[in-house]
Symmetry: C2
């Protein structure tokens, strides 16, 4: 059952039902423009990550500004992106199991579909499915550049997989996936840069080893919102896969720049609008958004517009704010904007975006791939 949207186009902000996932469209569009400009200046392609927004509407706005396609984590997300008009999609992940592989191979009849591998048998399975469906899958070898999650070791193991891919009908060897997820939220600039310098070094070495056996990398992909300027300036990464930049979140806001200051070149454009639903103690405000409204894995939300209000506890459907100073004026029924701790899994809790132009609802977009887990 799809939940009805909390707003209609033309409503004013004070008519939007809560909790609602708001996009500040002005800030959001500035973020889109900034990243498009940055990619152009760095001389790399942008393949923005749809796991953040889960929306073909937003994907197409990124592509209209120059992005060459999208990446995503799940076959179900890829299906929804292709159905929404995206022509080039990378599942930046391993796809395991006959059902998913069949769907991926079928989808490749309708768009350029790319996938990552870190296992030789998986290559056989992908190739068999592609041949069965009469399609071609573009395949990247994922190397572990420091995260310790998926991916084979850089160097010889990657070369062996690449050679196996290149030898298979139905598959095209397209290059390397060299994403360092673990580096994105390293707070210190120097430490974060050092992690990516290591990733660049081992990736360059692997590219050289591939070249030595006659295999070129059309794509060397990776990078996120926390590190894309390092990979983008490396000379070896061809695609950056940042996602969170469109919205930003509280956790990315805690990364430090070269001068040790918190912040980002992108703006918070994603908010949850919540209503004060209980106000029975002077220093406590209860809002109607908790664990089912915000992902709290990377910390609790921040309260926008009220520096004296701190979100201190979440239960399933309640948020508890500690208030002092001017924030003690917050009254029952007041509506507050909150900045999610982690944007990607927070978006995944909502069915609809409410796009605000100032105080007017301008757009209501489905979070089309919300819950696309497989």
């Amino acid at each position: 059952m799809t939940i009805a949207p909390p707003a209609r186009v033309g409503m004013s902000l004070d008519e939007v039902d809560t909790p609602a996932l708001l996009i500040d469209l002005d800030a959001f569009e500035r973020n889109l423009d900034r990243m498009a400009d940055a990619a152009a200046q760095l001389g790399v392609r942008l393949r923005a990550h749809a796991k953040t927004h889960k929306s073909p509407v937003i994907a197409n706005m990124q592509i209209a500004r120059g992005a060459i396609g999208q990446c995503c984590q799940k076959v179900g997300e890829a299906e929804i992106l292709v159905a929404g008009g995206v022509a080039d999609v990378l599942v930046s992940n391993q796809v395991i199991g006959a059902s998913k592989i069949a769907r991926l191979a079928g989808l490749a009849r309708h768009a350029t579909v790319r996938v990552c591998v870190d296992d030789a048998n998986n290559i056989d399975d992908l190739a068999a499915a592609a041949r069965q469906h009469g399609s071609c899958l573009s395949v990247l070898v994922e190397i572990d550049v420091g995260t310790g999650r998926c991916g084979v070791a850089p160097g010889a193991a990657a070369v062996a997989l690449a050679q196996k891919i290149a030898a298979q009908d139905g598959l095209q060897f397209s290059g390397l996936q060299a994403y360092h997820g673990g580096a994105q939220h390293i707070r210190g600039f120097t430490e974060r840069k050092a992690a990516i310098d290591h990733a660049i070094s081992v990736t360059r070495d692997t590219i050289d080893q591939l070249a030595a056996v006659g295999l070129d990398c059309e794509i060397v992909g990776g990078a996120g919102t926390g590190t894309f300027r390092f990979e983008g300036a490396s000379g070896i990464y061809t695609e950056i896969q940042a996602g969170s930049y469109v919205f930003m979140d509280a956790d990315y806001g805690r990364n430090l720049d070269l001068d040790g200051a918190e912040g980002s070149e992108f703006e918070h454009s994603l908010f949850v609008l919540a209503t004060v639903m209980s106000r029975t103690a002077d220093d406590r405000v209860i809002v109607d958004g908790g664990l089912k409204t915000f992902a709290v894995d990377s910390g609790l939300p921040l309260v926008a517009d009220h520096p004296d209000a701190i979100y201190v506890g979440a239960s399933d459907e309640h948020g508890r704010l500690s208030v002092s100073g001017d924030a003690r004026q917050i009254a029952l029924g007041d509506r507050l904007r909150l900045i999610p701790g982690h944007c990607d899994p927070t978006v995944n809790l909502h069915d609809w975006y409410v796009g605000m132009r100032g105080d007017v609802v301008e757009a209501v977009w489905p979070v089309a791939a919300r819950g696309a887990l497989f």
Copy 2:
């Protein structure tokens, strides 16, 4: 957009796509029976909490075993329960804002609808809406019995609200909401019981003060899976509102009994089936379920069936398991059952339950109120 289900009835477990939310129907039905028996033995009514399961199908199974209705946290959940045939629903929460209050009052034409209050002006708003819709809302005064979230102080403040409710056309004063959410997960038996003893004491005093002004409590509601035996034996609570007992979760499993042992009288009946999607290091297994598959607010999932496998880290769509001993045999493509840390917000991440009878899919039920945030 509703996501297609990961299984069809009649499939075997190894055909279910992953990640999928599984119910072990045998264990689940034993949990339903155990709580029905416990409520009967304690001599209290069961108003099971639908915020756990978000499913009219499960609500009706509880009611068929004697539950007198459901409670829920949101108007949207109440609408879905009533549409699914539930005749008596308590929104065990404050409902604030004209739009939500209108929906609540309209819904009260179609079922017995109850709601909690902790504010005098909110009583006026509820009454005006009920009169406008020609309906009657059953209203409970919520008292804060120790959680420090919603609710007025026990005693005089509650009596004043009750008198105001009783004086309003369109509203019926029905009693007290006296739920101690903060006590449910207190680990030690003695400390947990002490918290509820306090709640019982202040609730009894408030009941007495209400009686002194001629107001009877048809309903005194509260209690969760962690404490229901205390409230149920109190002689003053008339309804217990446990929800998690149907599924149990890892966090409730860490509560201690009188003898200091972990565990529960209920069984884990809810699992997430996940697939091993990467296996590139001997001591590391990567599965296809992370922050968008599991709520991690109350800890990471446990790995069922494999005591030597520990889920140690979640990213958006990956789970990282540390494996030793026999668990080193876990191979790429293997499928593992995981026990969520916190069942309620985990269920809310999924669109479908896959009900298993042994290794055969017997039922596929929508998580109908998933995402019903307002």
